[in-house]
Assembly symmetry: C2
Homo-oligomer: 442 residues x 2
């Protein structure tokens, strides 16, 4: 019998518990979670704010009943004694402390919202959007707010801006990079999303830094360089940072990204401790280098590997392409692998092309444009990235992720088999249109 | 310079002409087409009948202007002189005959609708649905019809039945096999579509043969074994047969499926003649054996290979998985590779599983079920087929087609990277749910 303790009961922790139990029915699994409720879905928060999800409590999963898995909610992990292989925990309600032994430990401690460190950022009209409490506080503040400023135009920021404009508010979205969705889309693609946001009424300000937030009296505003945006409410969506406090205190090695360093089996510098999810080091499947990959899907996939290995298996986590989809103002957009910008930064001589295709054949009413961008290595034509905007973007990104993992070249992508029916798709698949266009440039 | 003559200007012929010209700018390309109008989209006919496409003329493409490609509409190919390498053509309007020389010839003669050979099948209320004329005649007959019988429940029959019920008619759909969509979905999947059709008001009759069609007076009906269905109009959608008349007359070898035999470069038994599209032999990418593959997408992909090779290139057509999507009564369904039934017929020891997943996370309103079936070889776990029903079925079938082509095993499919956003997809991809379920049975 093997005692596996998992710290954290979000995507990675839940996935690890399920995988460990499935792999080793004899394993005794304990999950330690600080929250008093089960797994919740932070990705759903923008849709609670927009009103699509009618009640924030809907985001919390029913506590799963997995025989042989004990979930201790409202319990905080305080310290790991790596020599004695025990974990000190405290019941947050009774304050009762306890030391529990482990054979293998999995750290799935997740991440915390980055906060701004500028004057005025600590006011009560300035929110992050990460936890259920964040969501509840924003919901409580919204009825008194007419003008919102969202700071940070990553996917979460864009989704929140879309949600707020959908509520009829006046919305500005501020991004310090020259274009929105900077880690996900190159500017020639994000401009399509920008156009949709702008047409939907969102004021988008790029290449500008927030200097100060004024919160008192009538002058409530967000102060930028040379510009001031009125703001009854400010939502800060500038990303998350891995929660590695416990790991650092236990002396585990950290990566250059500030995540817990792991090998390809997700084992930390302590052979009896694994890490998975936002807190754990992820590597690019293309470059092999550490990357940020704070996605629920990465956490689920990592959790599975950590869970199996902690339970006695020998799975490998092969790396990430950061396949991601988002949607705002009715527009779906997705990305996988390297952007042109990321390829350049990684020192890869890449070539790219962007095409405009159609979601349906010309004769079928309701056809919408599909934008597809493909990025390939110049030396061998290997596909290393793709971005898609429009209906079916998610499915196409998933297909491209498989193509990249399988090391497909552009000419192979241009020959893929695909299906067609007028209400569903065009008779030429947009990805093959993009591949053909890129082939001509290689 | 090289003179390439293409017979037929549908998907395969158009694709061949474009690919030949792109590959070899010096090539002189002539396309011979019996119709007096350019490429049209037979896949769009059900949606004309249903009224989604408001005018049947919308299905015809604008005649493309490709420099160096001459398209001779209203011209019939009469005979191929394979020794002299000339083609006898006749202008259908002026009846002027002409012999034109070729260096390479591409047969893209397509297919013709199968007709019933039973008493009453030749009446003017009995239609096939293949050509523009078929579509026009049905449209003209519909205002006088209240009760329709569709014979043959392949994708086209199901689409037409859905279109007619959408018009408020009384519709019956008859299939001689025990389940609908027999070549595309196994019964455990087609039953989901059947349920949707039935709920939409379509009377579906399987395992029954049409014996006779009564057309005169008040007793207009379709007579089955032990049953009679009232029918003001009968639409026969029992498939197509390759149009190989010209090829057979020229002495070209035919395959066991009645298609024009070709090698992997799509060269016929005459080295100067290629064939592509519905008239040409296709082989299964899995079994290597000849299969029916009368899909527009196959025609487009074959046309490209034939065009390049006729123009001097050396492309290989790797075979087909018959990746197909269709949609009826608001339900999307798709398939790729072998069904369980086809695997059995091919002598493959296969194992399959079917799962029910969700189009969106539990907390997001509007989640719809996604049904996914996976089929794998028992001996090595290699994925050989998949069927999907629900939103995004097409994209998932395309991904599975790539997975099958890349010879992925079930465990590799269970580890694919995919993306998630609440309005777009669930946090666990249905294909990985199916792969995990199948893994447990392997």
């Amino acid at each position: 019998m093997r005692k596996v303790v998992i710290i954290g009961f979000q995507s990675a922790g839940l996935s690890a518990a399920a995988a460990a139990k499935l792999y080793n029915r004899e394993a005794e699994i304990t999950v330690i979670e600080r929250r008093t409720y089960a797994t919740y879905h932070p990705c759903g928060l923008p849709y609670v704010i927009g009103g699509d999800v009618p009640d924030i409590r809907n985001l919390v999963e029913a506590a799963p009943t997995m025989p042989g898995v004990e979930v201790m909610l409202g319990t905080e992990a305080r310290d790991i004694d790596t020599k004695a292989k025990t974990l000190e925990i405290i019941d947050r309600r009774t304050l009762r402390e306890e030391k529990i032994p482990y054979d293998k430990l999995i750290l799935a401690t997740g991440s915390l919202a980055h906060r701004l460190s500028i004057p005025g950022a600590d006011q009560r009209t300035v929110f992050t959007l990460r936890t259920m409490d964040d969501g509840k506080e924003i919901l409580a503040a919204l009825p008194r707010a007419e003008r919102a400023v969202v700071i940070g135009a990553g996917p979460m920021g864009v989704e929140v801006a879309g949600a707020l404009i959908g509520r009829g508010m006046e919305v500005a979205l501020v991004e310090m990079q020259p274009s929105i969705l900077p880690g996900m889309l190159d500017p020639d693609m994000s401009d399509v999303v920008l156009d949709r946001l702008t047409r939907s009424g969102i004021k988008v300000v790029c290449s500008n830094l927030v200097r100060e937030i004024h919160g008192a009296g009538k002058s409530k505003s967000v102060v930028l360089e040379g510009e001031e945006l009125p703001a009854d409410i400010v939502i800060v969506t500038i990303g998350v940072k891995p929660d590695v406090e416990l790991a650092a205190r236990a002396g585990l090695k950290l990566s250059s990204m500030g995540t817990i360093a792991v090998d390809e089996c997700l084992r930390t510098s302590d052979p009896d401790i694994f890490a998975a999810g936002d807190c754990a080091e992820a590597r690019s499947l293309i470059t092999g280098r550490p990357v940020q990959s704070q996605l629920a899907t990465t956490a689920i996939r990592m959790g599975r590997v950590a869970g199996i290995n902690a339970a006695g298996g020998n799975e490998v986590f092969e790396g990430v392409l950061n396949t991601i989809v988002s949607s705002a103002c009715g527009l779906e957009f997705a990305s996988t692998g390297l952007t042109s910008k990321a390829a350049k930064e990684a020192g890869i001589d890449a070539i790219a092309t962007r095409v405009k295709a159609s979601s349906r054949p010309f004769f079928y009413p309701g056809a919408e444009p599909i934008f597809a961008k493909l990025i390939a290595q110049r030396k061998d034509g290997r596909v290393i990235g793709g971005q898609i905007i429009g209906d079916g973007a998610a499915g196409r990104a998933n297909l491209l992720a498989l193509a990249i993992k399988q090391r497909l070249k552009v000419d192979e992508l241009s020959r893929i088999e695909y299906c067609y029916a007028p209400p569903v798709s065009d008779c030429i698949e947009p990805l093959t249109v993009a591949a053909d266009a890129l082939l001509r440039r290689l």
